[in-house]
Every structure is written in C-alpha cells, then in structure tokens.
Subunit: 379 residues, 2 copies
C-alpha cells in the first residue's frame, strides 16, 4: 500500500531501503550457512518486528535483545526464544520471571558471583526456570569473565548448586570496531572464537553441560574464517549497516539501508553552509567515524534519491538544525540547492540514529513510501 511520495513527508524522517536491508540479511545468512552455525540476530538495531522477521528468514526464530522492553515487545509478536544480552541485576528478576511465566524461553547472562547468587535466590524463592550464559571477556572491551579465570568455574558452581542451568558461554567482540584492516578483523574473529570455546571447554571439563557457545559482532561475523566449536552467532548492525561499518571496510556506502530525510531550511553562503532541519535529535550525537581514517561528521549527505554526495557531510548539529558543508571546508564549494530541497543523511552509527525515531518509512528503490514499520523504544 502506498503512503505517498517522500516529497510530501514532513522532515526529518527515517527512511529504510528495504531491498538493501534484504541484501544485507541475505549476505549474513549465507555467511552463517557457510560457517555452519546457528544465527541469533540482535534486534537492538532495528527494534522492529518486520525487520526481525526478515533477519530470521521470514518467521520468528531465536533473537537477542538489549532490553526487557524488547523482550516484551518481540515475545508479543511470536518470538519465544530470547537472549537478554546485558548482565542481569536483582531489580530485573521479577520482569524475567514474568516473561518465563508466559512461556518465553528467556536466557539471561552474568559475569559475577553477586548476580549468580541473586539469580539462585530468585529461583529458590519463585521456582522459576531460568537458563543463564556466563559472559566471557574475549577482548578487554567491556564486561565478562576472562576465559582462564577461576571465577568462571566458581560462578558455574553457584548456579548449578542453585538449580540454574549453566547453558554455556557468550561474548561480544566489541573490540572489532577498532580494527583497521581485513587481517585484524579476521584475527579478532578467531580470538573471539578461540577464547570463548576455551571457556566452554573448561566448564565442560568441570562437569557442566554448557552446550551453548554464543559469539557476536557484525564485523567478526562477516570476517570469521572458521567457527569451530561455536554454536550460534549474534549480530545486529549488519541489517542496515552505517558509515562506521563502511569505514571498517565491512560494507560499502551503497549498502547502507537507513538514512534520515531532511529539508534545506537556509544557507550561510559566505561560510559555505547549508542548513537543514535534521539536527542531533534526528541523527543522534554519535560521532563514531571521528576515530576512523575518514571523519564523516554527523553523517554523509545524499540527494533525495539516495545518491551519495561524498564531498558533503553534516559538520555540526544542534537539536533540530544540521549544518552541511564541503568536507574540506571550502566555502566556495557549498552545496548550493534551494531552500525546500530534500536530502538524505547517512548515519555514523545506525543503532543510535534509528533510536531517535519512532518508525521507518519503507522504500523499494523509488520515491514512494510503500509501508511504515514501527519501532519499540525505551525500557
């Protein structure tokens, strides 16, 4: 059903090129098939039922969530196998119990003794049957137990003694976002695999079944050469891709499926500035490309059809104002288009940009909005 031409949309608005999304998904799913590993897409990027279904191959499958609000939302749309991939805390256990009571197979993660004890206590008090993965630190990036730490077996022991299934281990190679070559991405993927499998083997040697070995990040998922011992892969940002991923060499700019539609509201010609009605509220404050070889400011400019104008970036952003200029600051090279002209801005980090919007305007390669897909937000 057509929802009209994008020329009639009030701006800013979040556009999604569905064919690009489908191609990104097909690429990832083919890679998972080649590597002979199960796929548990992370829905924190899209936060959208239609996109999650596409990531799962058309019908509900295993997913990863970043909030219990996402777990509520997706479980209400037929997704019953959910990994909540942020360390569990006592104040969230009643919510976990409510999801389990509704028949959702919710798995939680933890990396410390306090959380293990809190989970065991909740199981004893309520009789809930929660599976838990122990989070492994594979790259020093964030959370997790080191693969060789005695803590790993200590946590598993507390869980097992308390009637909590030690389902296995999980990790996220967030360090892959700082890799600067294909070679280093391949090495990071192998490090992620090897360290996590090693942790699982230690658990098994200590008598825990620990069947699950879950790894994940978009760069390592696409650059892994072998995933021996890994049982599932999680990835999210690949669904739309973004300038950070393009900067890493994980995708091309033409693979980026999501963009912000904006309208020119004025010029400051002597400075080479073109002002638009998308500021940080529409783009987010994410400056993920600032640390990369090519800084894309607050995003790369495209014309209204989506053709990249790679010399132009959003150099500054206020709440509802963006300033577009030539990337080398040449005032006489200003983007000289009339007030009212629509442009698209490609995002640095699409998880952050999409989170600023309530819905996607779905395009099929033309200028007509073919559908509107809603997002879920908050906690």
């Amino acid at each position: 059903m057509s929802h009209g031409n994008i020329a009639t949309l009030e701006t800013p608005a979040l556009l999604l090129e569905r064919p690009r999304m489908q191609a990104n998904i097909a690429r990832m799913r083919a890679r998972m098939k080649t590597l002979n590993v199960a796929f548990r897409p992370h829905v924190k990027t899209a936060k959208c039922v239609e996109a999650a279904l596409a990531m799962c191959g058309g019908s509900p499958g295993p997913i990863t969530v970043s909030t219990l609000r996402e777990a509520d939302f997706f479980s209400g749309h037929g997704f019953t196998d959910i990994l909540y991939a942020v360390g569990i805390t006592p104040n969230k256990l009643p919510h976990v119990q409510a999801l389990l009571a509704r028949g959702i197979r919710l798995t939680v993660i933890l990396d410390n003794i306090d959380s293990a004890r809190a989970l065991v206590d909740a199981v004893a008090a309520t009789g809930m049957r929660a599976g838990a993965l122990i989070e492994i630190d594979c790259d020093g990036h964030r959370a997790g137990v080191l693969p060789d730490s005695p803590l790993l077996l200590e946590i598993a022991g507390i869980l097992a003694a308390g009637g909590v299934t030690v389902a296995g281990v999980m990790t996220h190679a967030g360090g892959s976002y700082e890799c600067h070559s294909d070679e280093s991405l391949r090495a990071m993927a192998e490090q992620e695999r090897a360290r996590t499998v090693h942790a699982a083997q230690r658990l098994r040697a200590a008598g825990h079944a620990a069947p699950v070995v879950s790894v994940g990040s978009t760069p390592t998922a696409l650059f892994a050469q072998d995933l021996g011992g890994v049982t599932e892969v999680r990835a999210g940002v690949f669904v739309f891709f973004d300038l950070v991923m393009a900067g890493l060499g994980v995708c091309g700019v033409d693979d980026i499926a999501a963009s912000v539609l904006t309208t020119v509201i004025g010029h400051q010609r002597e400075k080479g500035w073109t002002l638009v009605d998308a500021g940080w509220m529409a783009m987010s404050r994410d400056r993920g490309t600032a640390a990369q070889a090519v800084d894309q400011g607050y995003g790369m400019v495209c014309d209204v059809r989506g053709l990249a104008l790679p010399d132009y970036i959003m150099i500054a952003a206020n709440q509802e104002h963006g300033i577009i200029a030539h990337r080398h600051g040449e005032a006489n090279a200003a983007l000289d288009v009339p007030v009212g002209t629509q442009l698209r801005i490609l995002p640095n980090h699409v998880c952050a940009t999409a989170a600023q919007h309530a819905r996607y305007q779905i395009l099929e390669g033309g200028g007509t909005v073919e559908a509107v897909w809603e997002r879920v937000g908050g906690w």
Copy 2:
C-alpha cells in the same frame, strides 16, 4: 500519589527532582521580572506539560517549540501562543495551516527569500494568517540574517507585500555555550540584545511595525544586565540544568534536577571499572563537556540519593552498558559497590539525555516516586 520507592524501578530510568526544577524556574522568572521582559520558555528540553506549566508560572502561557509535533502536543493542552523556532520549509506549511485553523497563534521564523516566497504563496493559496519573525544571526553560530544585511529589508518587503505580518525579529545566541567567563557571558548577552534590537529598528525605519524582539539562550538570559528594546526572552535548558551549564558557571552541580537512575551490573576490578546498565541509549552520545575545562565523560556519578561523587564519571558508553571509573583513571580507586547498587548519573546535556526517555519519575527530595510525567518525542 506514590508510585513506590526508586529501589523498585527497573533501570535505566529518568529521575526529576521537582523542588530543584521549581528553584531553577523561580530563579529564571525572577530574572525576567528584574529585566522587565516577557518570558516565552522553550519547551524543547522538558517536552512535558507539567514542566511547561511550571515554567509559565502555573497556567498556559507563551511557549517556544522546536518541532510541529510539540506544537500539536502543547496546543492540545491549552497552550495557544506558540513560536516554532526552526526555519519554516514548504513541506511544513500544511501542518502550520492546520494549527492556525484550530485557533493556535503559531508564529514561524525564516531567514531567506525562498522561505518568504513560499509562505506568501501559501497565504495566497489558503488565506491562512501566519505571523512571521525574521531570524537574526547575532553571533555567527548558526542560522539568521546579519543585522545590517540588505536581505533583512528584502525579506520583510516580500512578506508585507504578500499579506504576511512582519511580527519582528528573533535570535538565539548559541555562541554563549562557548563562553568561558562571566564577563564573556555578559558581553555575549549584550551583543545578542544590541544586534537584534538594531535589526528591529531597521525594520521599523522601513515602515514595518515589527513589535517583537525575541532573544534567547539560558546563559545569556541569566547573565544579561540590561534588555532594553527586547520584548521577550526564550530559554529552555535552565529548567533542569546540566553539566555543560555547570561547566559554564551558569549553575551549580547541585542545581541539576534531572539524572539517570542506573544499576551496577558488574566490575572489571583490575581496570578500575564499574559497569552499569545505563549506556548511550539512556545518556545520549552527547559529550558537551569534552570541550570544557572539566571533561565529565558521559556524566557525573551520584549515589542513589543524588549526592554527587565528583571523582567518578562514566568514561565510556555502549548501547546499554556504561563504564564508570575514577576520573583520573586510577584503577585502585574504583567505585567498589556491590552488583545491584543503584546510582544516578548527571547528564552533560539534558536536552539530549531527556530525549532518550519517554517519561520522568518525579521525586520530592526523597526516594519515593511521587508522580510520573510523560514526554512528547519525534516529529
């Protein structure tokens, strides 16, 4: 009505200390009274009916909005005098017309001939009666016509000839966010006043009534010594204040009314890290203090009662993970509190942080949530 103790809140959650907000509002309103100028608070920070009413002194008054969605929302709650403070574009004129047709006194702004012609054409086509302010560039920061530019009179001439009321001029001294002393803030306030009044005088000399001279930013509103010739002031961030404002010396850390409640989810003790369940999704990616004398990372840590722990900041943020550490990176000075401990994080830029949340949990100085106030978001 009590909504329970904050200990039972699922985190992250946005807290608002109502007495601090009231004190911030009282300070601003007293300042406006002393300066003998009308106040038109900007609701883009709070985006909340209860807060907007408090800013207006208890009942609906003139407000400033940053989106037409805000205009819809607040006009539905009794606010009928609304300035939409982003340059108007043709694709928004049907929405403007719809608001005017509902009896809302909506004023738009513009700074160029294309927009003036589009507005005049819409008036001719629909008979709508829109008032317009011409935006003035008082500090080179963003949009607007230079006060001495011939363009100012050209735009006014097009509007007047087309039956659009030239209501006056407006500016925003965004440059005040880069001032580093009380003296420079006072000078910026005077520059904002003088240049905008000068532009209005040029319009009047050319035969336009131009009764409105509207200026605004929280720092200049609080540091202005004299507002002769100014008819109204707009300001928004003062309602809650934030670390950027504290860094400017415009408020103290203890004046900051909004914070993000979070829970400790783990530690990486050898690095001095405490991990919490508030990441950039809860804090925003705003790093506004990075350019100030004291960089507050992604926010300053407080204990659960709101007492600042100024040695601790959020040094890094992923989507749903924050990393808290000693501000000087001393691993042996880690914030050693158990998993499950609640903390509060003060925001760099409260407009951005609040925008990540759907509602405020209202506190009255204690640990009980006394009310829940909803926000409006999107476009």
